[in-house]
């Protein structure tokens, strides 16, 4: 630029952070943390770092990971979905019921599972945006509703709920693998890629961020905020329907508690992956890292034969640490920016990296 005051650009810490963008920095750090954790497990346990174990870890991450793709959208709009586990149970039980009593062809079963999940998402979004019920309360209530539906559709013999084995081969195939690479993991990767593109490269994705970060401003920019919030629930419901199919294939039957507690694994993955509950921050890629992170942790600590209580404590502690880390990191960045303003010597800040222009 013609009137550039300092010919030698000084790269300060702040400039560096700003170059990398806060988001990429955060992503880099979570990948490093994941790598460090994997390194520790590999060094202390020979059974951890083998191809078959790593593929198993990926499989464990995949079920909650698929749903986490959708919940990422919900949390970026500053919402929450507590009903995902119940939706999975609902979809699974409807399919098991139809297979047992009507022996429907697999194509119809696939469609029905996805349709039921999507319908649940539509209802969630309707309650949130049209009936103006806060996300937390709305999805807490629908969680009970969907779980009750599981009992409505449960298969009974002599009025006693019984588990029946699923006989449909195409459904069971979904639980399998190709050379040890599980189909559910492929689906996970596929939906993660689609989700990331949707979030980062479409108008809808931009609106998801805008809605979560500053709803008022988004409205003033002509965005139909309610429709955005509705659609993120529909996406999540759809993915729950998909996840239910894979879970059925893996277990080979559907119990009434299928998916119970799954919603918390999903939320944990999303939060560990860097989405802020206050909205506007995070992405699908982060949630993928988060899901894998939780699966690695689970798999690693299992190998030490810790008591269940210790395993649960470790999971909880890791989630808290990651969230604290996030808030400290964000504060740190904000402080750096403010310091730069106060010192007023940061010409490169004011010029805002004009070199790219």
């Amino acid at each position: 630029m013609d009137e550039s005051p300092s010919p030698v650009p000084v790269i300060t810490e702040v400039a560096l952070i700003m170059k990398l963008r806060q988001e990429s920095m955060r992503r880099l750090i979570s990948i490093i943390l994941l790598a460090v954790m994997m390194l520790i497990f590999s060094l202390t346990n020979s059974a951890f770092f083998t191809v078959s174990n790593l593929l198993k870890v990926l499989r464990e991450a995949s079920l909650s990971g698929i749903i986490a793709v959708g919940v990422t959208f919900v949390i970026i709009t500053a919402g929450i979905d507590l009903s995902t586990g119940a939706i999975v149970g609902f979809c699974g039980m409807v399919c098991a019921n139809l297979l047992y009593y009507y022996n429907l062809p697999w194509q119809e079963i696939f469609l029905i599972s996805i349709a039921v999940g999507t319908a649940c998402g539509i209802l969630n979004g309707f309650i949130v945006t049209k009936l103006r019920v806060p996300e937390f309360i709305a999805t807490l209530s629908t969680q009970y509703l969907y779980r009750s539906m599981v009992f409505v559709f449960a298969i009974r013999e002599n009025n006693v709920i019984t588990n029946k084995k699923i006989e449909s081969y195409p459904v069971l195939i979904l639980g399998g693998s190709i050379n040890g690479f599980y189909l559910v993991s492929m689906a996970f990767i596929l939906f993660a890629v689609i989700g990331q593109i949707l979030l980062k490269s479409t108008r809808f994705g931009t609106y998801v961020y805008a809605t979560g970060a500053n709803r008022k401003s988004a409205e003033l920019s002509g965005i139909n905020v309610d429709w955005v919030r509705w659609r993120v629930f529909i996406i999540t419901g759809f993915l729950c329907g998909i996840a239910a199919l894979f879970q059925m294939g893996r277990i080979g039957s559907v119990t009434t508690d299928m998916g119970t507690g799954l919603e918390f694994d999903v939320i944990a993955a999303v939060v560990v992956g860097g989405c802020a509950f206050s909205g506007g921050r995070g992405d699908v890629f982060g949630s993928v890292i988060g899901a894998i992170f939780m699966a690695v942790l689970q798999n690693g600590i299992l190998k030490y034969n810790f008591p269940t209580a210790v395993q649960l404590i470790m999971k909880g502690v890791v989630i808290v640490i990651m969230v604290i880390f996030d808030s400290i990191y964000n504060q740190y960045v904000q402080k750096k920016i403010q310091q730069a303003v106060q010192n007023e010597d940061a010409v490169q800040i004011r010029k805002g990296g004009a070199e790219v222009v």
């Binding site: 988004a218 965005i223 506007g280 904000q334 004011r350």
Partner: protein, 517 residues
């Protein structure tokens, strides 16, 4: 040619003005705020709008941007008569307003923010390259310095303002209203903003510039309109803008010697609170003063001068970088619980947000600061709580006379009395009270003044922050004038006039001005 072919009232000869507001009238509850105001802006000029608080500036702007409907008058834009009924009407015409609280999405980039709601797409996908190119073109056309790919949250306040301005320009704005744009900017950032405003002017964009800072107006404005009490007092051309003259116009000449202050003097009571070189970087610096027992010490100054920030630091609500605070001869490190123990109290500026808990009853609100006496072992003495509540309601005549009513349901004046009541029963040593009468009716104001006098007569040091010139002159025993984060002047003996105080608030030293001619 097309224009001329059209028949009827729409045809006017091309006006030299971009915007003309004629005979604008506006009243709130039969209380006229704008009385037949004319206001006009030429294309490509920076037009400053000045006036005291309550002169009608913000009402005029809100009518122009469609937030308030006008009661009478006409608005012409580009020589055409227009109706502006909402924000959309205003932005369609090309009028936009840069507010102090910015409306950007912090986690999106500069480009995404500017293009929000008008994204370019190929198929279903964003055309990021094209959007970026448009933004870069916009940045270059107006000579800004901004990285189109930076996240807004990584920008300084000044840069965010630039993004807001760009967003307005991308919507083909021809008139940009800036309301106190430099209030939260550093001096360097302000300079950058002035450069931007210069570029806008060169590109034919008009700016309405509202600011209390005379030197900015002096530097930037092509013309200046002064409003006083809802009337256009004067329109000055660039060479007529003289700071002292502008202040006189804002006060009104006939008031010059009519309204006088208390007889100021330094109290002979012992010093209760002493502050030495208190500094908070970027907010205020080198604040030193002594406050005596039984003294009402006024902090006068313009909004944003740093008065609230100073008293909040003394109370312990905000940190400071250097300096010392002494209370009754001993240095203290302010923390809110320790200060309350010492007998400090704060009635904050943001009454609704910080002063009381709206859903709780009057007696509960009053009790909140008194649980050290009301709940000795952690168990609340409900009878004592009730008695205290009733006592306060009676003493301060909080209406309606019922201590069970949630404070949120009271009128502004009675809410303020309830906030004061939180401290009244205690043995107060230092009472800090910030804009105590903002939005309160006259009767309640007098009662609040009486309460302040009452505090002082019992030996409490009262630190009063107020933007109401008449109020601070009437209530204070002594006044410190704060400008731009420093104590500019102290009025501690004799009587002063409104003009004296106002000049000081604007940072004009009259004695010096007279010496220099």
């Amino acid at each position: 040619m097309k224009m001329l072919c059209r028949s009827g009232r729409g045809v006017r000869k091309l006006s030299e003005y971009l915007l003309e507001m004629k005979g604008i009238m506006k009243s709130f509850n039969d209380n006229p705020v704008l009385k037949n105001v004319d206001f006009d802006v030429k294309p490509g000029e920076v037009h400053a709008l000045m006036g005291e608080n309550g002169a009608g500036k913000s009402t005029l702007i809100k009518i122009l941007t469609g937030i308030y409907p006008k009661d009478g008058g006409e608005i012409f834009f580009d020589g055409q008569s227009v109706e502006i009924n909402n924000k959309n009407d205003a932005s369609k015409l090309g009028i936009s307003c840069i507010y102090q609280e910015l409306s950007l999405i912090p986690t999106l980039t500069v480009t995404q923010n500017i293009m929000l709601g008008k994204e370019k797409r190929i198929g279903g996908f964003l055309n990021k390259g094209k959007m970026r190119k448009e933004v870069v073109e916009l940045i270059n056309r107006y000579g800004f310095h901004l990285n189109p790919d930076a996240n807004v949250e990584s920008l300084t306040i000044g840069q965010r303002q630039t993004v807001e301005i760009l967003k307005a320009l991308s919507e083909q704005s021809r008139l940009i209203i800036m309301d106190e744009p430099t209030a939260s900017l550093s001096s360097k950032e302000s300079d950058a903003l002035f450069e931007i405003i210069g570029n806008l002017r060169n590109n034919g964009v008009s700016v309405i510039y509202i600011s209390h800072r005379l030197e900015e107006v002096y530097r930037l404005a092509d013309r200046l309109t002064v409003l006083r009490d809802g009337v256009r007092e004067a329109v000055l051309e660039k060479d007529e803008i003289v700071p002292a003259e502008v202040v006189r116009l804002m006060i009104g000449k006939e008031l010059k010697h009519s309204s006088q202050s208390n007889e100021f003097r330094v109290s002979d009571q012992p010093v209760s609170l002493e502050v030495k070189n208190l500094t908070r970087k970027g907010v205020f610096h080198d604040i030193s003063f002594q406050a005596h027992r039984g003294e009402i010490l006024g902090f006068a100054g313009l909004v944003g001068a740093g008065r609230t920030e100073i008293v909040r630091c003394i109370y312990g609500a905000d940190p400071y970088d250097s300096g010392q605070i002494f209370f009754e001869g001993k240095e203290i490190k302010p923390s809110i619980p320790a200060n309350i123990e010492r007998g400090f109290g704060l009635v904050p500026e943001d009454r609704r947000g910080q002063g009381f808990t709206p859903l709780l009853s009057i007696e509960r609100n009053v009790a909140l600061t008194n649980y050290d006496t009301l709940a000795r072992n952690g168990v609340v003495n409900a009878g004592a709580e009730r008695r205290l509540g009733n006592e306060m309601v009676e003493k301060l005549s909080i209406r309606p006379f019922d201590s069970q009513i949630p404070v949120g349901n009271l009128s502004g004046g009675n809410q303020q009395k309830a906030v004061v009541a939180k401290w009244l029963s205690r043995d107060m040593k230092v009472m800090i009270i910030d804009e105590p009468t903002a939005g309160i009716d006259i009767g309640a104001k007098d009662e609040i003044y009486r309460i302040l006098e009452d505090f002082a007569s019992r030996g409490t040091t009262v630190l009063l922050v107020s933007s109401d010139i008449q109020e601070i002159m009437k209530v204070s025993h002594r006044i410190l004038v704060v400008t731009k984060g420093a104590i500019f002047k102290e009025f501690s003996n004799g009587r002063i006039t409104e003009e004296d105080l106002m000049m000081a608030e604007f940072g004009i030293d009259e004695e010096e001005a007279e010496k220099n001619g």
